[in-house]
Amino acid sequence: MTWLVWRQHRQQALFGVTSLALLAAFFLLTGAHMHSVLDSSGLARCLARHGNCGDIQSGFEQRFSVWRGIQPVFLVIPLLVGLFWGAPLIARELEQGTHRLVWTQGVGRLRWLSAKLGFVLGATLLLAGAYAALATWWLAPLMTSTGDRFQPGIFDEQGLVPGAYAFFAVALGVAAGAIVRRTLPAMAVTLVGFLTMRVAVGGFGRSHFVAPVKVAAPPTPSTDLNHMGGWLLSRQTVDGAGHRTSIENAYLSCNAHVHAPVQTVVHCIHRMGFVNTDVFQPANRFWLFQGIETALYGGVALALLALAVYWVDRRVS
């Protein structure tokens, strides 16, 4: 089986490795540059000192705004793996009838399937893992500056989850291919299923993995309103009378400006009864959430693989 699996998938493997190599070259070249500027611009030192780095930050982020703009493109990668590695795996054999050739040799269909799955899933995890490591490193300088890493869309491209998405996409493709039996429709099912899951989990589910932290306090300049590296889910500011307002209004009402004495502003805000309620996920939960989402996608993927195995064993002829 090893020979057959390699012979059938060598083009895919080559394509995957080449793409990864190109991506790696891009990441390494541009990332090295960003890492060095983070240092040479003094931003790293400034942030480490917890100073007021606003100017350097905007300068840094402005300089690399192109990469920030490009960054969402990489969200597609796990889907592409599922479409081109997962969907055709079983569907192509069924479509062309070659399963009737290869399942009537000395090797049974389950051994055949496990060899194919082993190779494709293994390659997926390897390549996706390498990609995720590179992407995390590449994004790090921008994350240090913006504190955006927990944000939807950026959370999805770092750490463990890209590998989990790719694993899930391939499992979905394989199951779809086994049931639908034709490559193009299986790809369509994979596309719809993948997007649905990603939107459902990323858009709605993720914020509820762990009950968010709720902090209600008067919005003074010393309050941490940035939640650097965390994920602000909602913010509500009310005035003394309970009417909805904004933090800007609170500051305006208290004549807060750059040269105003801080204590005066603080007293004013307390006196006027402004309260700001932030619901957020703190930064230190980033890896916890990565783990939960990975386990969630992994669990669904395993269920889909079990379905595919059952279908091939029992239902396909």
Binding site: L4, T104, G106, V107, S317
Partner: protein, 299 residues
């Protein structure tokens, strides 16, 4: 002789429809069997059940005494070529042979290479670039290189031109002569198979209507022609397969258990094609010319 393939009340249902229903027959070893029936009769289903691609809904099927789906050792003794001879079109011919060598325990690659070279099929050519006849030969070589004891072929010559068809059957008969292998060939045309097969399984509407040694079956059926009359209770006739009544003449195709001595009937032999057509309910007797009546014979 022990049966190499045995079906007992074999049935396969898809939803509400039975693709195969209550099929029973025994194929002795060393035969070339024709599996014949109109399209949709269940020939492919039967072959897929025999080779373990499908599981029966009812009844059972055994090859060499074992059920093919449970016992993988059975698959090593059976060669199978599915309809439309599936092959990996992107592979070279020699890569298809490598596939066979890697996936099968018993494999005579040298024999397969020699055979294909002898047929003028270049081993380095892509399967997709071969002609239909050449692909069929590659598929046959792949199935035979396993050194199987039984070979199952699903409509192997249906889409081949007459020359390729002849060459395929020549290659197949050569293999039978060389190794004594048993073969089951399915087709919806009996003409293809008459000179090659010595055993018949006739599938009509998902059921086995007839099975047995072709010589015995043909000897056991006769065409009776006589003056128009009832077809019930004719001595010697076990069953009437098909009857055709003209104004003054009755023509029957009947299964006979003993010779028919009644002088009113003219008794003629059947050939296989007439027999099969009659069982299929097709007009098989209408082409028969009126025999010389008593007056003319003495003329």
């Amino acid at each position: 002789m022990s049966a190499i393939l045995q079906a007992t009340a074999l049935g396969k249902r898809y939803g509400d429809e039975w693709a195969l229903r209550d099929c029973s027959f025994e194929l002795p070893a060393g035969r070339v069997a024709a599996l014949v029936g109109p399209n949709g009769a269940g020939k492919t289903t039967l072959l897929h059940l025999a080779v373990g691609l499908l599981a029966p809904t009812s009844g059972h099927i055994e090859l060499f005494g074992s059920p093919p789906r449970q016992d993988r050792a059975v698959l090593e003794r059976v060669g199978f070529v599915a309809q439309d001879t599936p092959l990996y079109h992107g592979f070279k011919v020699e890569e298809m042979l490598t596939l066979g060598r890697r996936l099968n325990r018993r494999w005579d690659g040298r024999w397969a290479e020699d055979r294909l070279r002898g047929l003028g099929i270049p081993l380095g050519k892509r399967v997709g670039a071969l002609s239909g006849g050449q692909r069929a030969q590659v598929a046959l070589a792949l199935a035979l290189a396993k050194r199987p004891e039984l070979l199952l072929l699903d409509e192997p010559v249906a889409s081949l031109d007459p020359l390729a068809r002849r060459e395929f059957l020549q290659a197949l008969m050569d293999a039978v002569a060389e190794t004594g292998i048993s073969v089951v060939l399915s087709s919806h045309l009996i003409a293809d198979l008459e000179r090659v097969c010595d055993f018949l399984v006739l599938l009509i509407a998902s059921e086995v209507r007839l099975s047995g040694d072709i010589e015995e079956l043909v000897a056991a059926h006769k065409v009776l022609i006589g003056p128009r009359r009832s077809t019930i209770g004719i001595p010697g006739v076990e069953a009437v397969v098909q009857a055709s009544h003209a104004e003054r003449q009755t023509t029957l195709l009947a299964r006979t258990s003993e010779p028919v001595y009644d002088p009113a009937w003219t008794v003629q032999d059947v050939d296989l094609e007439e027999l099969v057509l009659a069982y299929m309910g097709q007009p098989a007797l209408s082409a028969r010319p009126m025999p010389a009546g008593p007056a003319e014979a003495n003329g």
